[in-house]
């Protein structure tokens, strides 16, 4: 049989497919055929490499060449040069943002060096539509070992020992959750996978389902065995068509092999899964609302207790876990609880996947050990702040979280430290901000989201968040007063204490944390009417620097409200009272004579 010498791994994730990775696959294949290299090189479509910003990605192994931003027309050159002659196509290699050097081997990219891939172990490595590749990497072996050789309690004990905590936001210990569900007595129980992923900016769950759907299916079956459930349901947002497709293919293949269905591997254990589609409401990610939505009711949260583990879907005990939580499970059973708990911090074991975004050089999906510092994530993996600007803050935990600043750069990241710092892990969004970002606007952005997504069931969240948003809006438009800051703080506390579900209980966090860390910036808005970051349009002050102005009059013609006056070849002036802060003059001036503050 022919032995391939090279595998060309082409990213088939949502990001790269949007930039034509499917055509790239076709072009690579046809060029390989043209040159008669079919027995030498194999093209494989994989899941996301996490480097979507610079996609489409083509990685060639075994030499670990990492080509970025590949276009369909580059394929012939890749095959002719690299596959045939062993010469890498330099211009497509990743360029280190600091040294501007091309990096030949992805092992040497800062982006990957500090990563430990457990949940993402197969993403960008196997073909997610081919169960054989999953099995070749020990897929379904954990399930097989457990259902043929372990009691449910033994397996639960391993989960408890591993220290795995839920990755959906709350961080509840997974083993304990399973144990509670296993002890509930009922004729039917359910395993639910929460793939609602509503946090703006997070896409780790989507990437896992697209890149390694079998790991989630296998883990759900393991959970079913542990808690005594034969039915699993994946609740996934309908906006994830590719993840849905890959999940369906994976489930079909597992069924064909008898790895889902009746009497799996002759063990007597039966399990199968089905899919339910969510309309993409953020609140439906909250587990009680999710269960209501699955029952065909309005997606509104209910009071806990009773917890889903006692009374969940259709009133039966239901174990809800997040996609990433599940993706860790098979690896824990294959490599052992001790291995897993050797990674991470005292109370947060293993790794966490983060979606790095914002003003950072390497935007993407990363998986790092718990306990890594923000500094390592932002300046090493992330390659530092874009355009050499200054780091200001990073928002973690999305709309439920808060921001961390310079002084937190060396704090080890884990569940408890993030909470102590006034933020939270959340689903793992990490938005990096630089000196140009206004923190009041950041808080306003998240409140806009919460107001939009509140289900409206309880007053503190429905009305309170709207008020918070109005005040933030007022401050950003230059009409705020100092008392507004205290008002924001008080109202935030009331909402946190009285809202019914996690959405409202956490929605004021971005406000509180920006006030805490950037009090001066709020003060500047309300007292001096200045936005120090220069981002709030209404607070910008345009003036002309007399020593730079040549009197060319270009700005006079650009100004829509005739706010600029002056004699030809003399310094001009802007009438602040007339100026509508549109920025047209600033764009026009060739002599950088217009100053914005």
């Amino acid at each position: 049989m022919a032995q391939f010498k090279m595998h060309l791994l082409v990213c088939g994730g949502t990001g790269c497919r949007a930039s034509q990775s499917e055509i790239i696959v076709e072009n690579l294949k046809s060029e390989i055929k043209n040159l008669g290299l079919e027995n030498d090189a194999q093209v494989v479509i994989t899941g996301c490499f996490g480097f979507c910003e610079k996609g489409p990605i083509v990685k060639i192994v075994p030499d670990n060449t990492f080509y970025t931003q590949v276009k369909p027309e580059d394929c012939a050159e890749i095959v002719r040069e690299h596959i045939l002659k062993g010469r890498k196509v330099k211009r497509l290699l990743y360029e280190d943002p600091e040294t501007q050097k091309h990096i030949e081997d992805s092992k040497h990219m800062n982006f990957y060096q500090k990563q430990i891939r457990i949940a993402l172990r197969n993403c960008g490595f196997i073909d997610p539509e081919n169960i054989d590749e999953y099995i070749a990497r020990d897929g379904y072996a954990a399930l097989g070992n457990i259902i043929t050789g372990m009691s449910p309690q033994e397996a639960i004990d391993i989960m408890k020992k591993s220290g795995l905590r839920g990755r959906g936001g709350g961080g509840f210990p997974t083993g304990i959750k399973w144990e509670i569900a296993s002890k509930s007595k009922a004729d039917q129980k359910y395993v639910v996978c929460n793939a609602d992923e509503g946090d703006p900016g997070a896409f780790m769950d989507r990437s896992i389902l697209e890149g390694d759907p079998h790991s989630v299916i296998e883990a759900m079956a393991i959970c079913g065995y542990c808690i005594g459930a034969t039915k699993g349901i994946v609740y996934i947002r309908a906006e994830y068509p590719l993840a849905i497709k890959r999940l369906k293919i994976a489930a079909r293949q597992s069924r064909a092999y008898g790895l889902l269905g009746q009497d799996i591997l002759g063990s007597g254990f039966s399990f199968d899964i089905e899919l339910r589609y969510g309309a993409g409401a953020f609140v439906c990610g909250e587990e009680t609302a999710l269960i209501k939505s699955m029952e065909g009711l309005r997606g509104e949260p209910t009071v806990k207790p009773p917890f889903p583990a006692e009374k969940g879907y259709l009133g039966k005990p239901t174990n809800v876990n997040n996609v990433e939580t599940f993706a860790n499970v098979p690896a824990i059973f294959l490599k052992g609880a001790d291995w897993f708990s050797s990674i991470g911090t005292a109370k947060s074991k293993g790794t966490k996947v983060f979606a790095l975004a914002g003003k950072i050089n390497n935007v993407g999906l990363i998986e790092v050990p718990m306990g890594i510092t923000l500094r390592e994530v932002i300046f090493e993996i992330g390659g530092g702040i874009k355009d050499g600007k200054k780091f200001k803050a990073v928002q973690t935990g999305g709309p439920s979280g808060g921001c961390l600043t310079e002084k937190h750069l060396d704090t080890p990241i884990d569940f408890d430290n993030l909470i102590a710092a006034g933020s939270m892990m959340g689903s793992g969004g990490m938005i990096v901000m630089d000196e140009d970002d206004c923190m009041v606007s950041v808080a306003k952005f998240y409140l806009e989201f919460t107001v939009e997504e509140s289900c409206g069931k309880c007053a503190p969240c429905r009305i309170g968040n709207k008020r918070l948003h109005e005040i933030l809006e007022k401050i950003c438009s230059g009409k705020g007063v100092e008392a507004d800051i205290d008002y924001l703080k008080n109202l935030s506390r009331v909402i946190k204490d009285t809202a019914l579900c996690g959405l409202g209980q956490t929605s004021p966090n971005p406000v509180l944390s920006t006030i805490e860390h950037f009090h001066d910036e709020y003060l500047a808005h309300v007292k001096e009417r200045i936005c120090p970051a220069g981002s709030c349009k209404a607070l910008k002050l345009y003036t002309i620097l007399p020593d730079k102005c040549t009197g060319c009059t270009a700005c006079v013609r650009a100004c829509p409200v005739d706010a600029i006056t002056g004699e030809k070849r003399q310094a001009h002036v802007i009438d602040v009272n007339k100026c509508i802060r549109c920025g047209a003059c600033y764009e026009k001036c060739k002599f950088t004579a217009i100053h914005v503050q």
Partner: protein, 133 residues
């Protein structure tokens, strides 16, 4: 697709499937493996580098030798093509010239597996084209 009926069947299946993933698995930890680079640019191909590469890959797979084969561009030893560079973990890389299939097997069995010295090593103060830049 046939159903997998037992854990044993699953394990057997895994064993049959895993060699297709070998190249990818090896790329995950190249430092712990013997890395062999075959010079492939036009002069190399003309002089039979591709055949040498095939031989190496097949032998490594068959004997389960912990080595990984990659292609490189011309190393600048056109007079001695095909050339291959062998880097055993913890040792300096060495370059062998005038390698044909028979010599390729010798290099694998004698130098890589048994650690014997072999003739035909090109003196080492060399730099590959890639390193010169």
């Amino acid at each position: 697709m046939n159903k997998i009926k037992s854990l044993d069947d699953l394990r057997k299946m895994k064993q049959n499937l895993e060699h297709e993933m070998n190249i990818r698995e090896k790329s995950n930890e190249p430092e712990s493996l013997v890395q062999i680079r075959v010079a492939m640019a036009t002069c190399g191909i003309a002089s039979g580098a591709r055949t040498v590469m095939n031989t190496l890959v097949e032998k490594i797979e068959k004997d389960k030798i912990p080595a990984v084969v990659t292609q490189g561009g011309c190393m600048g030893y056109c007079y001695a093509e095909p050339t291959i560079e062998v880097k055993v973990p913890g040792k300096d890389p060495v370059v062998f010239g005038n390698v044909d299939s028979q010599r390729a097997i010798d290099i694998l069995v004698k130098y890589v597996v048994n650690g014997e010295l072999l003739e035909g090593i090109i003196p080492t103060n060399y730099q590959t084209i890639n390193e010169k830049k």
